[in-house]
């Protein structure tokens, strides 16, 4: 891939995992600053609390409040940038979505909500 515009092409892009499943959006991007070396693109961040920081203090407070009420830790998923396979309309990463914390809520709702209701689970298509 030739030059990648990090903000225009990567930030907020849709993330797809190894099986082309949607696993959230690129909420954050981390650069590692090194003396005498150009900054290295270290990792992608996925998580509501990360996106909240970009919106503003009030949003961070809301997200932290919700997490405290639900008694959960804000889930931040860190994906090393070298796991990125392709950057186009979406960003594809060599990661299994189900194992990352980005899909924690999805998994919880899958077990405690969707699968508990008839017709909820089963083969992919209806």
């Amino acid at each position: 891939m030739k030059g990648v515009a990090l903000i225009h092409d990567v930030l907020d892009a849709q993330l797809l995992d190894r099986t082309q499943q949607k696993m959230g959006r690129v909420d954050g991007l981390v650069l590692e600053l090194r003396d005498g070396e150009p900054p290295r693109v270290a990792e992608l961040l996925v998580g509501g609390s990360i996106a909240a920081e970009r919106v503003g203090g009030w949003m961070t407070a809301i997200v932290r409040g919700c997490c405290r009420v639900l008694r959960i830790e804000p889930a931040v998923s860190r994906i090393p940038f070298d796991a990125v396979e392709a950057i186009g309309a979406c960003v594809e990463v060599k990661v299994d979505a189900r194992s990352t914390s980005a899909m924690r809520t999805e998994r919880w709702l899958d077990e405690h909500f969707a699968c508990r209701i008839p017709g909820g689970s089963g083969e992919e298509r209806k």
């Binding site: 891939m1 030739k2 030059g3 990648v4 515009a5 990090l6 903000i7 225009h8 092409d9 930030l11 909420d27 954050g28 991007l29 981390v30 650069l31 590692e32 600053l33 090194r34 003396d35 070396e37 150009p38 900054p39 290295r40 693109v41 270290a42 961040l45 990360i50 920081e53 970009r54 940038f81 070298d82 990125v84 396979e85 392709a86 950057i87 186009g88 309309a89 979406c90």
Partner: protein, 120 residues
């Protein structure tokens, strides 16, 4: 001592030079492969938007796109990574006063259509 900085918090930040003069706002950071064959990406160029109107519109992402779209070309300043200190995302500063470089035409990164499958 490795320090990290969040690109998403840099977006749209005002960049000043060592004398404190406003140069422009961070529009984008261009990452390239460190050296052919390696999977590592490094940021070699930082694009600043320095257009007058875009500045006055507060340089929000929205205003920038609107300005670009309707012919109010905010001229773009390309800064090399060596010339900018990003350690403090609140106040990115240029390491030395910079004479105004020729505005490079907008870097066309194509995400249109069915999307480009990079070789990765």
């Amino acid at each position: 001592m490795t320090r990290t900085v969040r690109v998403d918090l840099l977006s749209g930040r005002v960049v000043r030079d060592t004398t404190g003069r406003r140069i422009g706002r961070i529009h984008d950071l261009i990452a390239e492969v460190a050296h052919p064959g390696s999977g590592e990406y490094v940021v070699r160029q930082i694009h600043l938007s320095t257009g007058g109107l875009v500045e006055r519109l507060g340089g929000t992402h929205f205003a920038r796109i609107l300005a670009e779209r309707f012919g109010v070309e905010s001229n773009r300043l390309v800064v090399d990574w060596r010339d900018i200190d990003l350690s403090d995302p609140e106040r990115p500063t240029l390491r030395r006063p910079l004479e105004r470089q020729a505005a490079v035409s907008r870097a066309r990164s194509s995400r249109a259509g069915a999307g480009r499958r990079g070789s990765g």
